[in-house]
Structures are given as C-alpha cells and as structure tokens.
C-alpha cells in the first residue's frame, strides 16, 4: 500500500476544510448562544487558508491516491472560484442569519462541508470520487435549503429538493454502474482508453450516457430536470440560494465537463446531439418563463436556468475553445448572481419579505449604491457590453460558430435579447418607481463589501479581461 507525502499534500485543501468543519461542529455546543459570530470568522479563516494552499499548488498536475484524485490547473481553477463563492456567501449570511433568528453555528459547518464536497467532486478523476463528492454536496445542501425550519416555504423547498435530488442521484448511479459494466473500470482515463478500443456502436453506451446526462442535467438545472430550481431558490434562505445557484452549478459543470470530455470523448457524436437538444430547450424555457415572474428569486432561478443553457453550448462544442468559453462563463456567472442575491438579502427588512420585484421599488432613492450595484448586475446578466456578461456570452457564441453551429448561436443571441426585458424590468422598478417609504436602507458592512467586490469584478472583467482570459486559457482541460 503506497502512501506518500505527496498524496496528503495534494489533498491538503480538502483535508483542511473538513478538519475545520469538524472543529466547528465540536466547538458549537460549547459556545454560549450569542457568540456564534466567531464560527463565521472561523469558517472564513478556513477558506482563506485553503485558498492559499490551492494557490501554491496552482499549476501542479499529478494524479494521487492511485488514480482516484487528480490535482490539475482545471480543478484548481474551479476551486478558487468555489472559495470566492463560499467566502461571499458567509459574508452575506452573517447579518442575514441574525435577522432571521436562525443563527445556528452548524450553518457555517455545513457551508464548509458543502464546499469540501464540491472540491472533491471537481478534482475527482474516478467515478467513485465524483459520486461521493456529488452526494456530500447534495446532502449538505438538502439541510441548508431547509435551514429556516419553522417557515413552511423553506421546509417545502428542502422536501422537493431532497426527493428530486436523491431521485436524480439514483439515476446517475445506475448510469455509472452501466458505464462500469461496459468499460470494466470507473477511472475516467481507463474508460477513455477502453472506448478507443471497443466499438462505440453498442446501444448500452448510449443508455449509460443518457442516464449520466440526466443525473448531471438535474444538478445544473437543465430544463427537463429543472422543476426543483424555482421552488428551491425561492424557499431557501437567500445566502443559501446564492451559494446553491453559484457553487453547486459551477462544480456540476466542471464534473460534467471532465466526465464527458475526458472519459466519453470517444463517442462525442452521440452525446453532442443530446446536449444540443438540452441546451436549446433550457435557453428557450429559462428566458421565456422568466418574463412573467414577479418574485425576484424565482426570476433569478429561471435566469440561472437560461444561463445553464448558454454554458451547455460551451460544453457540447467539445474543443479547446468550447472548454475555455465554459470555464470563462462560470466565474462571470458566479460573480453576477452572487451580487444580485447580495442585493436581495439587503432588502430583507422587518416585515418586508424582499422577494417580490415590487419590493425593489425606488431602491435608487433608498440606497443609491445598492441600486447602482444591482443595475450593473442586471445589465451584466442581460449581456450588455461594458459588463462581463457580454464577454462571457460572446465567447460562448464564438465557440458555437467556430464548429459551424451557427444556428445555435443565433438562437442563443435571440433569447439573450428576449431576456433583456425582464432584467431591465428590475432596473426600471428600481430607478423609475417611487419608494413607498423614504427610509434609508442601511447595508451592513459585510454585504457592502461583497457588493462592491462583485460590481468591480463584473466591470473589470467586462472592460479588460486580458489577464483573466490568459489564466483561464492555460488552466483549460487538456484533452488527450
């Protein structure tokens, strides 16, 4: 049994996060009721340390734990994204939890466990690791979604998420078992090797691919499997919704990409058509249904679904530019959505639920900076130039046109225009409607920091994304 130090070194960030999570769980019962804030800073410290650890190993490229776990620039790229998302979520949730009177210490432990699951998932080069990471993430999210346990909406959201989530894990698992049966191994490299040898005509491969697409499709809320998304986004506490819509989606896309590009690259033709179909319905449904939404969180849910559709285009293209455009899309989508949800947490005031779009009325008068930030996020989500959203969409459509999927790019572009309406409606409500009461909305410093960082990032990536593009390029997955 070989067990060298490099194995521990490679898995250090994950170990760090898991140890911190257990530490939080241990300290929490001994802590007096009002000192729960320390655990939040504890969590932030953990994420900071892990960030530094991953930063050191940024360009390492080695497979450890005999083929189960891989440490490569692609995985590290997504890990950095996940750290930023988690740090922002914790900052958003500190004030939010106290206001909602659900400030239990375990919340931060679950956030750390969720991100630990995502990190394992993202750097798993074996279907076992991928499945375990996926499950750890999903289970922690089932709890986090139902965290406001005395509010019916949150309970209902977590019940729906649980049932549909475990149902899709069952399907995914059955897909993995078929894949194992066909290729004799669960290691992604070995599956690819085997695929080069065997004839891909065997229909069982197509069945296994369909089941895998169903399982991952659920996690990224692609349309036929998106039923859970709006209800869960609306019911769950807002910071959890933010983390769910950003972290879980980015990690699921990373795994989707790794499994399909590395392992099933050989039968690209079969699953490309399936993904094209998926991405078309997702874009259409996501943009159209969002038009009629009145609840901001449901609207952001459908906008998230539409964005998954666009990101899927990057995935199905299947060449270096496709991977690069998907990797570019995820962080930009993450920053935009986190910022938008940050502003939604701001509106949670006393009686005001802060969910309906009309609660945004006259925000420009109540809190000018928050309104400006939301304007930037909405324009970025709509993909209007000076913001990063435009760059992300531009590269995705470029990737599609490059492989002569011009009609797909045209469809995507048209529905971007359609989606512009409901994003601008929020801006209109904020700037052009009068607020019902003139109270000045004070924003806690943590939320202000998150909004400022997100807004600056969106503008910076929009105007001069040079260095970020080069980094994403070098970190792109190397297809054998």
């Amino acid at each position: 049994m070989t067990f060298s130090v490099t194995d521990i070194g490679a898995v250090l960030p994950e170990i760090l996060i898991a140890v911190y999570a257990c530490a939080i769980l241990l300290i929490e019962p001994f802590l007096p009721k009002d000192r729960r804030e320390i655990l939040a800073y504890f969590g932030l410290a953990a994420l900071g340390l892990a960030f530094i650890a991953t930063w050191q190993l940024l360009w390492a490229d080695l497979t450890v734990l005999n083929g189960m776990f891989v440490l490569d620039p692609f995985g590290n790229f997504f890990k950095l994204l996940l750290y930023v998302a988690a740090i922002m979520t914790i900052l958003l949730s500190m004030g939010y939890l106290r206001r909602e009177r659900i400030d239990l210490g375990e919340y931060y432990a679950f956030i750390l466990l969720a991100i630990c699951g995502m990190m394992i998932m993202v750097s798993g080069s074996d279907l076992v690791t991928v499945f375990l990471g996926l499950e750890l993430m999903s289970i922690t999210f089932y709890i986090l979604v139902g965290f406001k346990r005395f509010e019916e909406k949150s309970l209902e959201a977590s019940a729906k998420y649980f049932i549909l989530g475990s149902f899709s894990s069952g399907i995914l698992l059955f897909g993995i078992s078929l894949l194992y049966g066909l290729s004799g191994t669960t290691n992604l490299e070995a599956v690819a090797l085997h695929l080069r040898g065997a004839d891909p005509g065997n229909p069982a491969w197509v069945l296994a691919v369909i089941l895998l697409v169903a399982g991952f499709g659920f996690k990224i809320a692609a349309v036929p499997f998106h039923m859970w998304a709006p209800d869960v986004y609306e019911g769950a506490p807002t910071p959890v919704t933010a983390f769910l819509s950003v972290g879980s989606k980015a990690a699921s896309f990373a795994v989707f990409l790794r499994v399909f590009m590395e392992a099933l690259g050989g039968i690209h033709a079969d699953w490309r058509f399936l993904l094209i179909l998926l991405s078309v319905i997702t874009i259409v449904m996501g943009s159209v249904v969002a038009l009629v939404q009145t609840n901001i969180k449901r609207m952001l849910a459908y906008s998230g679904i539409a964005h998954s559709g666009y990101a899927l285009i990057g995935l199905l293209v299947g060449d270096r530019l496709g991977i690069f455009s998907l990797m570019l899309y995820m962080p930009i989508y993450a920053v935009m959505t986190l910022g938008a949800f940050g502003v939604v947490t701001l509106l949670r005031r006393g009686g005001v639920e802060g969910d309906a779009i009309d609660d945004f009325a006259g925000l420009a008068k109540k809190n000018r900076l928050a309104a400006l930030a939301m304007l930037i996020f909405m324009f970025s989500l709509a993909g209007i130039p000076p913001t990063a959203g435009f760059i992300a969409k531009f590269y995705i459509f470029m990737a599609a046109v490059n492989v002569h999927l011009t009609w797909l790019a045209v469809l995507g572009v048209i529905f971007t225009a359609v989606s512009a309406y409901f994003y601008l409606k929020v801006v209109m409500v904020m700037y052009m409607k009068e607020p019902d009461e003139e109270v000045h909305l004070a924003a806690p410093p943590a939320v202000v920091m998150v909004l400022a960082v997100a807004a600056v990032a969106v503008l910076l990536l929009g105007i001069y994304p040079g260095p970020f593009l080069d980094y994403a390029q070098n970190a792109a997955l190397k297809i054998r």
Binding site: A409, V413, M428
Partner: protein, 525 residues
Amino acid sequence: MMDHILSTILFAPFVGVVVLLFIPNARPLAVRTTASIAGLIPTLASFYLLYHYDSAAGGYQFTEQYVWSKELGISFFLGVDGISIPLALASSILLFTGVFISWHIEDRPKEFYIFLLILAAATIGVYVSLDLFFLYFFYEMSVLPMYVLLGVWGSHTKGYLEMADKEKRDSVGFIFNFASNSKEYAAMKLTLFLSAGAIVALIAILIIYATSGLHTFNLVELQAHGRVPQYLHGILFLLIFFGFASIAPIWPLHSWSPVGHAAAPAAVSMLHAGVLMKLGHFSIIRVGYTLFPDATREWMPLAAVLCVFSIVYGGLVAYFQRDTKYVIGYSSSSHMGYVFLGMAALNVISMTGAVLYMFAHALATGMLFAIAGYVYDQTHTRDIPSLGGLSSKMPFIAGIFVVAVAASFGLPLTVNFIGELMILVGSWSIYPVQTIIAVLGIGLTLAYLFRMMRGVFYGPMDPHYAHAQDASPFVDRLPLLVMAATSIYFGLFPTQFIHVIRAGVMPLIAAIQGAGPIPPVGGPF
C-alpha cells in the same frame, strides 16, 4: 501626445465619469464643470484631427493598436479616416453642448452626466474603432445609458399626464404592464429595438469571423485578405444592412425612434438624433461597404427605394404632429432618408454629400431639440396649438430657432445646403425618380418646420405663459451659439471638410466601382 489623440478623445468622457463618481450631488456646479471639461477635450481634439488629417495620403490615420486577446485575435485598434472624423467631431460637439443644455437638471445631476458621458463616449468609440469586436462592443454599449436616461430623466408623452387612470391597460400596456405612452414604455421599446437590431448585426460579425479563415476581428486585415466565401456575401451584407439600419431608422424599422426622441430629455434627444442615428449609416459603410463591395453594389438599390418611403412618410407624419419633439423626431427620421439616398447612389459626390449631411444634420437637429427642450422647461408643455407668440418673450431663442429651421431644410448659408446639394446632384444620374421625390421632400420639411415655428413663436400669446423668460444667462446661450456658429462656419468654408471626406470615400467607391459599373435601375425606381 499626437499619436495618442484618438485614445484621448475616446477616454476623456470615461475619465470624466470616474471623476464624477467622487463628486457628491450636493455640489452641482462642480459636477457640471467636470462634465463640460470632459466634453470640451474631445471637441478640441476632433477639431485638431479635422485640420491635421492628411487628405492626400487618405486611408486610416492616427492609428493605435493594443492586443486585447491573443486567442481570438481581438485587438483594441483605433483609427480614423475621412468618414469617421466628421462624425466624431459631431458627437463631441453635441456632447459639449448637451452638457450646457441640461444645466438646469435638479434630479440627481451627477448620475445624469455620468450616463450622458458614457453615451457620447460609446458613440465616439464606434466611430474610431477599426476592430469589429470593439465596433460592436461600443455600438451595444450605447444602449445602456439610453435606457436609464430615458427612463429616469425622460418625460411622458402624448398627454400621459392627463390620462385619467394611469393603469389604463391597452394591449401594449398589458404586455409591458405600464401605460403605452409612458416614458418607461419608450425606454423599453427603444432598448429592445436597438438590441434586436444589434443582435442581427452580431450574427453577421460572428459568421464573418468564422468563415474568413483569418481568426481576427481586425477590419483592415479582413478587408485586405479575408476569404469569406462568395455565396455568403449577399446574405451577410443584408444582415449587416438591416441590423444596423434599425438604428438609422429606415422606413419599416423606424417606429421606435420618434417615441424615443419625444420621451428623452433635451440633451439626450440631441445626442440620439444627432449621433446615435448615424451609428447605423456609419457601421453599414464601415462594415458593409468595406468588406463586401460587390454585394453593396448589388443590394444598395433596395436602400434607395426604402429611403424614399422614409422621406415621404417622415415628412407627412411630422406635418400632422401636435408635440414639438415628435415633429423634430419624425423630421430627423425623414432626413435620414436623404443620407441613405446619398449612400445608395454609390458615387464620390453623393457619398461625400451623405457624410457631410450627416454632420450637418447633427448640428441642425441638435439646435432644434435644444430649443424644444428650452421651451418645454419654460412652459412645461410641448403642445404646439396651445403654445404661441413666445418670440416676444424670448427673442434670442426665436432667432436661433430661425437659424435652426434654415439649417434643417438646407438654406445655402449652412453646411446642410452643401451636403444636400451634393447628395441630390450625385444621385440624380442614377436614381432620377428618387431625387425628384427627395427635392419635393425638402418642400415638405419647409412646410412642417414653418408650421411649428408659427405655432410656437408667433401668433397670439396665451397669457398662461407670460412668466417665460429668454435664455439670458451665458450658460444657456453658449451651446446654441456654438452650434449655429459651426453650422454657418462650415457652410462658408467647407473645403477642408470636403477634402477630408473625399479622401475617405474615394477608396471605398473605387472598390465598389471596381466591381463593375452600377447596373442602371430599370423601371420607375
């Protein structure tokens, strides 16, 4: 400094925006002076550009290039030629004067100026960039400030205020859930129309990039050795034409523009009519004419037909409007018809006339909107029948209005006359019937502008507006004087202007002529 002049023109407004961010709304004078300086720098620089462009050498000068993304071959490539200098000058003048026109805005002046500067900078960006990606980047970027400016500082149209119950939902109101003549509706309609048009153009740009086999957006390289397959040229030109023509309102796609004019505040409708509309013509020339000369020669007669509709339609509707800003809005969409006619004739005289007319029309409509805005500020109504006899109250404004009207229909002393003349002379030999209709169109312009002038400034004065005073402070007089002076100055000494534009137009027409003489248009049109 001279080789960075284009970036100074482009980034001066952006620097102004950043400086404005740090000035509180409580000190409006500081806000306004920063905005005016941010407007002054590009104006002076463009004047310098005009007089230092070496028209003998021609081609793209003052070029700057910075690589932006190696992977996709996108570079921040600035350069001007004969066609873009006049338009850059027009947009900087309109920005400078627009800042002074909106001197009396009280509702959040800082944000207003920030979005105004972004709008002007975006239009200048389109005129000076030689990279398809950045041309589209700035073109789409102009949508953002237009939406917010119209929505927040705009004014409702068509008697919206008198409407009994604001929630009156007609079909349009139901879909957009706000009344169909409110400013939000105008803002939303404008934005959706612009982005829809831009989308069509984006598709063409993406296909050009993919099929040119060069993996670059650089316009100069694409023009030199882009190998876009022949059968695609026709479709791509049509995509570009209709994509960009929706902003230069050609007849079927023009319905958003008058509403946009009427709902916008004075300075924004000046920039909108003066410069935003010309983005369309300019981009068609910059992308369509340069990359697909033969397709241009084949399809431009279509534009000649459509532009006649927009001249006649715009003129007639303008005649029957009751709202001053609607009259000017429809008049500018009808004048755009002349520019299309000039562009469609595809010879040096008419093209030079078209570009000159674009510059001239910017100044003329700028003055008209400034004055309409001023009248609205004084009397809080734009309804022509209820206005009247204001010339006794504001002689200076009435005087400038006469100059503006003269410029609009091309009285000889103004630069519009030269532009219009060259268009008509140039297109006479190719499209005789259209030219006749265009000349009649000038008569129509004369009719509705004089009708408006009589309605607003002369005749019996309604005592209700007794309190209206003239534009006495220097700050109100400066912009109108600047525009009138430039219009007349270039009307008297246009030589340098014509040389510069000719230098830009010659290579284009040569390429298009090279693709064989224009087939004589059969039948009446």
